[in-house]
Amino acid sequence: MRGLISLVVVGATVLVAVALVMLRPQALSGVLPPAALSALSGLGGSEMPKADALPADFLADSASGLLATGPIAAHMGNRPLFIDAAVSGYSTRVSADIPAEITTIRPILGCRLTAPQPGSVVGHATSGVSGLTLALSTYNDGHLAAAVQTFVDRYRSIGPDAPFADDGPAYDAYDVAVTETQAPVYLVLENRSGNRMWNLHLAPGARIERVILLGGDQAGVANLDPVVPVEVILNDGLAACGIQPAYPLNPGHLLMQAAIGKVPTQSRQEAEAQLSALGTAVDAYDVWFRDSFGVMAKESRVGFDEGTLSVIGPVPDAAATKAAYDPIAGARIRTTQDQFFEIRGQVAEGQDFAARVRAIASAFANGNLATLSQGMDF
C-alpha cells in the first residue's frame, strides 16, 4: 500500500513537471501569483544568462534588424548591456497595469521643437518592437470601420458564432532608464509606428529637462515629473514637416545581404539602389536632428529593432545608483489620444471597442446581423 502511494506521488509530480515543460509557466498565469511565475520562468534557463555569457550573446544581427533575444538593454553606441547592470527590479509584466492618472497632451503646432539648454545631455532612445502591450488603447472611426469589415468578413465565412472580441490599437510600453546624474537630460524618444507609452525609470539624482516624443500614431510618457515639459510630433506631423526618420541598417539586414549578393531572390542592383536612397535619407535626417538637438541621430540613437529597454547614461557602478524600475500600474501618464480612449476592463458595458463594432455592423444591417450571411450551400 505504501509503495502504491509513493508511486502515485511520484507520478503526480512527474505529470506536473511535464505539464510545466509543455505548457510553459505562462499557462498558469491565472492560477499562480506573478512572483511564482517569475521564479518558474527563471527555472527555464532561457532568460538567465550563464555566468560567462556576454550581453552581445543576446543580440541577434538578423535580416529584420538587431533583435534582443535575452535580458539585455540598448546602451550608448547602441551596444548591448545586461538589464540588471542598470536597472533594479526590472519587469516586463505590464499587460494588466492600470495608471493612476491620465493627462491628455497634444502634438505641437508646426515643426520647430524647443532646443536643449546649454550644458544638458541629449539622450536619444529609439524603440522598435517591444511586445509590451498595455491595457490602454486608443482608436478612431477609421479603426472602427476596418474592424467592422473584419467582423463582417468573419461572420460571412464562419457564421453567427464567429468570435469577435478584438480590441482597438493598444499602446505598447517601452522602458527608458536614465542613469545620467551629472547633468540634466534632454530626452528624445523616437518611435516608428503604432501607439507607444514610454516608461521612464530614473536613477537617484537623475533630472529630466524636457521630453520630446517623435513618431508613432500616438505617444505618451509614464512616470515623468508633471513639471517637466513634453513636446510631441507624431508620424503625420513628421510627414507634414518633411521629416523622414532613417538609420543605417545592421550588417545582417536582408537588404545589406542582398547588396553583397547573398540573397538569391533579390537583385543586387536593386538592393544597392535602395541602400543608396536610404543613405540619402539617413543624411537628411541627421542634418535635421543635429539642427534640432545638437547631436547626430545615427550616432546618438540607443535602441534595437526589437527590445524593451534603452539605458541613457553611464553604467552604474553600485547597486544604489541603478535606476529603480517604476511600473505603469499606479503611474501618472501623459499621452496623446485618438478619438476614443479605452482602459481594458474599465469601460461601461456596450462602450468597448468590440461592442461598438457589433453595434455599427448591426445598424448598417438594419438591426439584423443575419442578413450579413452570404454564399450558397451548393
Binding site: L144, A145, V152, A361, F364, T371, Q374, G375, M376
Partner: protein, 282 residues
Amino acid sequence: MLRVLIGSGLLLMAVGFGAAGWQYWTNLPAMPADQDLAADAGDVSPGQTGWLVSPTGGLIAAEDMRGYLAQDRLIEGRIATVIHTAPLTALLAEDDSLPTEPYLQVFADIRAPRMAEGLCAALLGTIAQDCAMHSARVVPGSVDPAGGTARFRIDLAYRLKPEEEALPNLGERVFQTETLGIGGAAETTADETPVAESAEVPAEVAAVDATAADAVTAVIAAALEACAAGDDRQACRIMSLSVDWAPGNPTAGQARIGWLSSLPEGIFPAPSLDPAPADPQG
C-alpha cells in the same frame, strides 16, 4: 510492488497511445476529396453517360462537365457575375442617411445585396429556370465619396431552362467551349478557369444599356446569337457570364458557351467493352 510497477506502466502506455490514437482519429478528413469529386461528377443527369470528350480526344474537366450537364441544381461553377456602378444613396432605406466617410466602404459592403435586385429577373426572363444570389460585395477601394458612387460585384448562381430536345448520345459527340468577349473586356476574366478549347470571339452588342439588368439581358442575347451562329452547335448552353456596367458607358461582358458537335471526320465511337452475350447453344 513489481506488479504495481508493471500495471502503472501499462496504464501510462494505454493513456499515451490512446491519446495519440484519438488525435489521429480526430484529424482524419471527413471524406477524401476524390470521393467527393467522383460522387459529384457522377450525379449529372439520369440517363446520361456522365462524361464528355474534347475534339482532340482529351477528357473535359469535371468542373466544366458539371457546368454544362448538371442542370438539375445550382452549382458553384455556373455563375453570372455582374459588376456595376451605383449611387450610394441606392443603399438607403426610408429615413436613412449615409454614414461618415470612413464607414462608407463597409456600409456599402453590408448593404450590397440590395444591388442584386432585378438581376435574377433578367436571367429568369431569358435563359434561367432558377436563379439565386450567391454573394454581393462592394469592390474594395471603389467607393467614391465625392461622386457618391461605388462599384458592386454580384455573383448569381443559375440553372438553365430545360430544353425541348433531349441531349444526343454523348459518346458520339465532342464537347467544345468558347469564351465570347462582348462589347469589350470584362474585369472578371481572372476568375475564369482556363480551358484549352476556349477561344476569344468578339461580338457586337448594343452600345449603352439603361440598367445593369438590361446589360445582363444584352450579354445573354449576344451569347445566344453566337450559339445559333455555328453550323454544328448542338445543345449550346451558356456556362457562365460576366457583365461590367456603369451608367452611360457601353456594356462590357463575357460569356462562356459550351456545345456538342459531331465527331471529327475519321473518328468513330469505340465499340462497347461490355462482355459479349453468352452463346445460347454454347
